[in-house]
Amino acid sequence: MNKLHFLLSLLFGIAVFTSCEKEEPDKTALISGLWIQEILTEEGVEMPSQNLSLLIESNGVYRTYAKDAAAKEHFGAWTITDNTWLEITTDIWRVASNPLSQTPDNQWAKNHILTRFTILSVSDKRLEIRLKTYAGEQKYSTLFVEGDRPLITESNEEAIQREYKTLKTYIYTFRKS
């Protein structure tokens, strides 16, 4: 009987201890909604405004709208892993091999991949996410606004290839609409 009492007391103690741990807010619940981009920084330096809206819905689909971009709308799937990372599916454009020997249509190759952002903070008012990626991927892919992909020539090939070898850190800050 004493052993039983001891076990029950131990279980009760564990329950009390775990309930006193500081609980992380459920980021999956907080992240749903319409977010308006406020700031985008590259290596801590503010970049020009992209006029980006990001709609994250609870069924696991996100949509983006950038009113100044040529391709205004994009969409994909999202998940949050370990209440820490925001993972989204994106179209990533990379330079094809030997681009100068390719026709203009084949100089760029597209892949649909999962991109992982670190959630720096999320509340009912503000969302801050960080991504470390190649500068070229951020610039020319749908992260989240797709930049124009230039015709690759002898004069710009080296610079573009360099962009795909340079890792940079981007921080996206959004406010809840």
């Binding site: 009987m1 006029n51 809206s53």
Partner: protein, 138 residues
């Protein structure tokens, strides 16, 4: 001692009940959605709009097949449907999904959000009334 065990079992049952509740709610909504519905009104950002631009009948089948039927043009479109994360997904309309505002024996009200040209949202609400399956000619 007997009381302690009874309390522990009661607590376990309570936890189990809450875990199942959310799943049951989704199943209940799916069950209520099943059937054929006729469009009765459409409201965009609070303003009633012409419904002739939308298919006038939809059907959610229990095998997760979705039918959309425009009786004016005798046009039938098939897709799939699911209810996930408290949202209704209809494959023909993805990436937009619907919030089920109301569903019961007779009425169905669905809301979807889309971007306006400034990057804000436009809410479209479509209201339906339950009707006979025979309204959709397969």
């Amino acid at each position: 001692m007997k009381n302690t065990f009874s309390s522990i079992i009661a607590l376990l049952l309570l936890f189990g009940f809450y875990a199942c509740e959310e799943k049951n709610e989704a199943a209940e909504i799916e069950s209520k959605l099943a059937g054929t519905w006729q469009l009765s009104s459409a409201i965009i950002d609070g303003i009633e709009t012409d419904i002739s631009v939308y298919p006038d009948f939809i059907r959610f089948q229990t095998n997760k097949i979705f039918l959309s039927y425009n009786s004016t043009f005798n046009e039938l479109i098939r897709g799939g449907w699911s209810y996930e994360g408290a949202m209704l997904n209809i494959s023909t309309d993805l990436p937009a999904a619907y919030y089920v505002l109301r569903v019961d024996e007779n009425y169905l009200s669905l809301k979807r959000n889309d971007f306006n040209t400034d990057g804000g949202l436009i809410a479209t609400v479509r209201n339906y009334q339950r009707t006979e399956d025979s309204q959709i000619l397969e």
